[in-house]
Subunit: 346 residues, 4 copies
C-alpha cells in the first residue's frame, strides 16, 4: 500500500485520478490540493465520488505535504507545475506530472510554445515521457514521469509503427483530431457552457495548438530526423473521447492487411492497444471510461496515402488512466491494476 497525493485535484483530470484510485487496491490517497476549492470535500465537487466525503481539499503547500505521500500526481495548470514538481523530485519523491511542463526535452521549444521560461532544466533532464508503449523500461527506472498530452497520445500511438517501419513519408503528416468537451477542462466560461457547445462543431487553435511540438518531438525521435506535422484540434459535442484521423503518403506501395499485421506485431502484448481488423474503424464510444487506444487503418490506393484512425478516452489513456499506468510501472505493480475497465455501452 503506497500513499499518494494529488496536487490540483478539482479539475476533470484530478477527479478522474480520484475515481480510478478508489478502485486501486495498492494505493491510498492521503492528500488532495486545490486553491479554489480549499476547505471543500471531494464529494462536494464530485458527487459521483460520494465515498470521499472525508477527503478535503487543501491549498498546495509543498513543504507541508511532502511527508504525506510516496508519489505525487501533479494535475496543475501548465506553468504552475514546474516548481512543485522540481521540489518533490529533489526531495526524493516519485512524481507523475500531468501538466505539459516536463514533456518537452528542449527548454527553448517549451518557452516558444508556452510563453514562459523553464526554470528547472536540471530536473527536466531527468523526466521520462510517459508513453509506456514507447518508454516502458525508462519509466520503470525513473522517479519523474511527464505524462503525455491527450492529443499526442492518440497521434503518436497511431503513427509509431508506420514511422518505425519507415512506411510513410514523414514530411506529409496531417493529424486531424476531434475531442470531447471535457478536454477543455472544468472552467466557468460562457464558451464552454452547454447551450453554446451543444449541436455545434468547430476547429480551434488551427495550426497553433501547443500539443504540436510534443507530437513532433516524439515523431522526430522515432524517425531519427526532424518531423513537422499539420495538427488541427476540433471540439465535438460529447463528454469524453479523442478521435484522431491521420494522413500520410506511403513511402512505398503496401496493402492494408500487411500494414495491419505490422501494427499488430509492433503492439503485441500491449495491454491497452487494440489494432482492429481490416474494414473496422474505432469509435470513441467503444473506449469511453477505459484506458484503451483503438487503432484502425486503411490504404487509399488511389492516392497512395495511409489513413490511420485512433480513438482514446481523453481523461483515461489521454490523462489520468495513463498516469496510473505510469505509476503502476514506476512502483513495480501489475501495469493494469485499477485500469482494466470495460466501456459502458450505451
Amino acid at each position: 500500500m503506497i500513499r499518494v497525493a494529488i496536487c490540483g485535484g478539482s479539475g476533470y483530470a484530478g477527479g478522474e485520478l480520484l475515481r480510478i484510485l478508489s478502485n486501486h487496491p495498492l494505493v491510498t490517497v492521503t492528500t488532495v490540493t486545490s486553491e479554489r476549492s480549499a476547505g471543500e470535500s471531494v464529494t462536494d465537487l464530485f458527487p459521483n465520488l460520494y465515498h470521499y466525503s472525508n477527503l478535503t481539499y487543501e491549498p498546495l503547500r509543498s513543504g507541508n505535504i511532502l511527508d504525506k505521500a510516496d508519489l505525487f500526481f501533479m494535475a496543475l495548470p501548465h506553468g504552475k507545475s514546474q516548481k512543485a514538481v522540481d521540489f518533490f523530485y529533489r526531495e526524493g519523491k516519485k512524481v507523475v506530472d500531468l501538466s505539459a511542463d516536463y514533456r518537452l526535452k528542449d527548454a527553448k521549444i517549451y518557452q516558444q510554445w508556452y510563453k514562459s521560461e523553464h526554470k528547472f532544466q536540471k530536473t527536466l533532464k531527468n523526466a521520462v515521457y510517459g508513453l509506456p508503449e514507447l518508454y516502458r523500461k525508462e519509466i520503470s527506472k525513473t522517479r519523474l514521469v511527464a505524462n503525455p498530452g491527450c492529443y499526442p497520445t492518440g497521434a503518436v500511438l497511431g503513427l509509431c509503427p508506420s514511422i518505425k517501419h519507415k512506411l510513410i513519408d514523414v514530411t506529409s503528416i496531417i493529424i486531424d483530431s476531434k475531442s470531447g468537451i471535457s478536454g477543455a477542462g472544468r472552467k466557468a466560461e460562457i464558451a464552454l457552457s452547454y447551450s453554446e457547445v451543444n449541436e455545434g462543431f468547430k476547429a480551434y487553435a488551427v495550426a497553433t495548438h501547443r500539443h504540436t511540438p510534443e507530437i513532433e518531438q516524439e515523431l522526430s525521435s522515432m524517425a531519427g530526423k526532424d518531423v513537422k506535422v499539420n495538427f488541427t484540434p476540433h471540439l465535438a459535442p460529447l463528454d469524453r473521447g479523442i478521435f484522431t484521423t491521420i494522413y500520410a503518403g506511403l513511402a512505398k506501395k503496401m496493402d492494408t492487411g500487411r500494414i495491419i499485421d505490422l501494427y499488430k506485431n509492433t503492439y503485441t502484448g500491449e495491454p491497452f492497444i487494440r489494432v482492429l481488423e481490416e474494414g473496422k474503424f474505432p469509435n470513441v464510444k467503444n473506449v469511453r471510461g477505459t484506458n484503451h487506444c483503438e487503432i484502425g487503418l486503411t490504404v487509399n490506393s488511389r492516392t497512395n496515402t495511409l489513413v490511420i484512425v485512433t480513438a482514446i478516452d481523453n481523461l483515461m489513456k489521454g490523462a489520468s488512466g495513463a498516469a496510473v499506468q505510469n505509476m503502476n510501472i514506476m512502483m513495480g505493480f501489475d501495469e493494469k491494476t485499477g485500469i482494466e475497465t470495460v466501456a459502458l455501452f450505451p
Copy 2:
C-alpha cells in the same frame, strides 16, 4: 405561383423541402410521393409541418403526376431517380434532382462508384451541376439540375478560390469532413439509433465514400487537370451540419490575410457565402437551419500548408436549401426567396 411536386418526400431532404417551401411565396406544393408512407399525411410524418395535414403521400406514378407540377424535386435514393428524372425532363418539365444520379458527367465513373449502370446518358448530358457559385448562368438556362452532394458542397466551396488562383498543389489535397447524423438519412437502423450514436464519434467509408468522384470532378474541372483527393467522412453526435477541414500544400508562400482577400473577392456578391476574418473559424451551430456556407482559413507557415475550414447545414446548403436556390435561379425568381433565414442560437 408555380406548382411543384416532391418525389420522395418522406425522408429528411423531402421534409426540409416541404418546410422551406411552406415559407416560399411563389410556390405551391401540389404533390408529394413516398412508397413507404403512401396514404399518410405530411403531418403524420413531420409533426413540425402541422399545416400540411391535407397533403397526403402517394406512390410515385410518374405519368399520373406529370400534369400536376411545373417543376419536380426528386429526393429519391440513388439509382431510383434515374428513370423518373429522365421521364419528367423529356416531357418538358423542370427537374431538380437531389440524388447523385445526374451529378457525375462520366457514366463510367458513375457505374464504378454506384455499382449500377446509367441508362439515360442522353439526358445526363443536359444536366447542370447545381452549385450556383460555380454555374449560376448554366443553371438559369437549364431544365435539369443535379443538386450537389452535401460533402462536395462544403469541400468544393472551400477549395474553389484556392484552385482558381492556383494557390495550392492540387496533388496534396486532404478533405476531412464531420457530419451530423441527419446526413445518414431517415432510416430504421440500429446503427442510427440514439443510444448507439450519442456520445460516439467515428469515421466511415474511409477512402471509399461515393462523394469522392463528385468532389474530384469539380476540382479537376477547376484545375484543368485530373485531381485526386483523400476524403474521409465522420459522424458527429448532432442533428445537422457538415464541418470540413481541408489541407493542401501551398504552391508558393503567401500569408493568411492575402488569401482571405482572394476568397472574399472570389465570393463577392454571393448571398450565401461568408468568408470569415483572419483568426475566426466556422461553427456548424452558426449555420444551422440556414443556406449559408461559412469559410475560414489559415496558413500553417511551419509546414507551408493551407488549412481551410467550412461549415454548412447538410439539409440546407447541403441539400434542400440548395435545391430551392437552384429552383429560384431556374425560374428567374430572386435567388434568396424562401431561404434567407437566420440560425437559431442556441
Copy 3:
C-alpha cells in the same frame, strides 16, 4: 416602421429578440444595451447574427436612449428592470418587460419571492400580464406589458380551459416541468458547462421556484379563488424547450375526447396554440424555434385524474417570441408578424 431598443441584449432572450426582429418588416432595432459587452458588436456575441455587425452594445443610460426608440424591450435581470421600466413608461414610451419585475400584481408577494422591494408600485398597477390568449384586449390598450415567465406560459396555457370550465379540483394541481438548458441563461458557471450538464437530468428549486407565485396569480384569477400549486422545474440536456406535465383531479367524470373539444373551443382562432388529437402528445422538438404551444391531454379514468402536457420553446413562446407577439398587439400590427416560423426537423 417603428424603432425599438433592447435593454439587456447580450443574453439568450436578447439574442432571440434580435434574431426575430431581423425578420420583422415593421421594426428597426436602433439600440441595444449591455453592461458587460459594451463596445462589442452584436455579431461578436452572436455569430448567427452576422448581419448586425454595425450594431454595437452600449451601457444602459436610460436618458440617453429615450429618444432613440418608440418601444423598449427590457431583457434585464430581475430587480434591475424595475427602475428603467418605470422611467420609460412615465416618459410615454411603450415597454415590454421580459423580467419578472412587473408580473406580480401584489408587491408584497414580489418582495417575498424576489427578496427585494418593489419601488414603483404606481407603474406596477398599469402593467398588463402579457399572455395574449388571456389578455389580448388589455395588451392592445396598454403601454406596459409584463412578459410572462417561461414556466408559467406552459403551465397556464395548459390549465386555462380546465379551470375556466371548472373541470378540475384546483386544490390538487401538480406541475412538473422540464426545461432545456438555455432557460438557465447565458452565464459563465461551471454548473452550466457542457460536461456537467450533458447526460444528466436533475430537479432544482424544488418547491421554491420563483415562477410559482406567477402561476398561482393567474390560476387564482381564473378560478376566482386562491389557488396553490406544486411546481417542480427540471433541467434536461437540450438547448431549447419546456415540457410541462400537469396533474389535477377531475371535478366530475368526463372523457378525454370531450375535454379536448373544450380545449379546442377555448383556443379557437388562437394562432399559436395547437390542441392535439386524442392519443397524440407534444414534443419540444416540434415547437423548437417557433412561437407555438402544443397541448395534449388524457383522462386517467383509473384515478379520475386529468393529465395535461404542453410543449413550448422557452426562448420563443416562453420569452422573446411572446414579447414580439405582445409588441405586435400593442402596435396594432398583425399579431403573427415575424413569428410565424416552422420548426426545424430534425
Copy 4:
C-alpha cells in the same frame, strides 16, 4: 465459480449483463442466446466487449443449454420469457427473469396489461419480486426471481419509507418519470433514431404504461390496502438514467429533516441506496454505470405535499445491475460483488 447463461443477450440489458459479469470473479458466462444474432459473436454486437470474441450467440433451445449453466438470466421480451423460465425452473435451475412475465402476482392483472395469458401460474406462485431492499430474505431462499422493472425500481424505492411510516396519503400519489433512451431497447425504429430523439423531450404511454400495475402491487403490499397511482413516463435525450419525481399529500405535518432521518433509518446498511442531505437532490449523471439509487426529498409546506426525487441507471439498478445483485444473494455471494462501481464524471 458458477456457470451462467444469458437468454436474450443481444439487447441492452443482455449486453449490460455481459459487461458486468466480465468483472465478476465468481461467474463464467457459458452460453448466450439470440434469435436475430445467432452465429455472431458478442464482440460483433458489442464492440466494447472485445474480450468476448469467442462467445457466440445461439438460438434459444432450452433443452440444449439446460446442462450448460447453473443459473439462467432471462432477458427475453415480455411474453417470450414465460415458457423458458418455467422450463428451467422446473428442471431445478436458478433463474433471474428480467422480463415482466413473473413480476405480477395476479395472473389476471398480467393478462389485462400485457394482453396475453399467463400459462405458468404454478411457477408464478414461486417467483419472488427481486427488490433486495424489500425482499432480501425471500430472494436468498428462492430459485426464481422476477427482476423489477426500471420505473418501478425508482418509484418504489422512493416511496417505501413514506408508506411504511404512514407519512403520506396513498390515494394522492403522482409519479412523473424521465428515462434515458436506452430504456426503449435496442431496436431498428425510426422513432428511436438519433435525429428524431435528440433535442426532443416527450411523454409516452400517458396513464397506460405497463409498469403501473407493478408499482401498484408493491405499494399496495406495503400500505396494506389497494393503492392506485398516476404514472407518466417521459423520454429525455440521454443514454442512461431514470429520474423520478414523486408527489404525495402528507398525512400529517412533518418537516423535511425528520423525513430524511426516517429514510436514512429505513435504508441503513443498504449498500446501493444513498439518501441525500436536505437541500440536495439527485442527478442521473451521478449514478450512471452504477447500481446506486439516489434519493432526495423536500416538504412543500405551502401545499402540505411531500416531493421525493430518485435517480437510478436504468440498465444497472433498473435492470442488469439488480439482476446480478439478485444472483449474488441467491448464490450466497457478497451482494456487492461485481457491481461496486463509481460513476464516470463527466
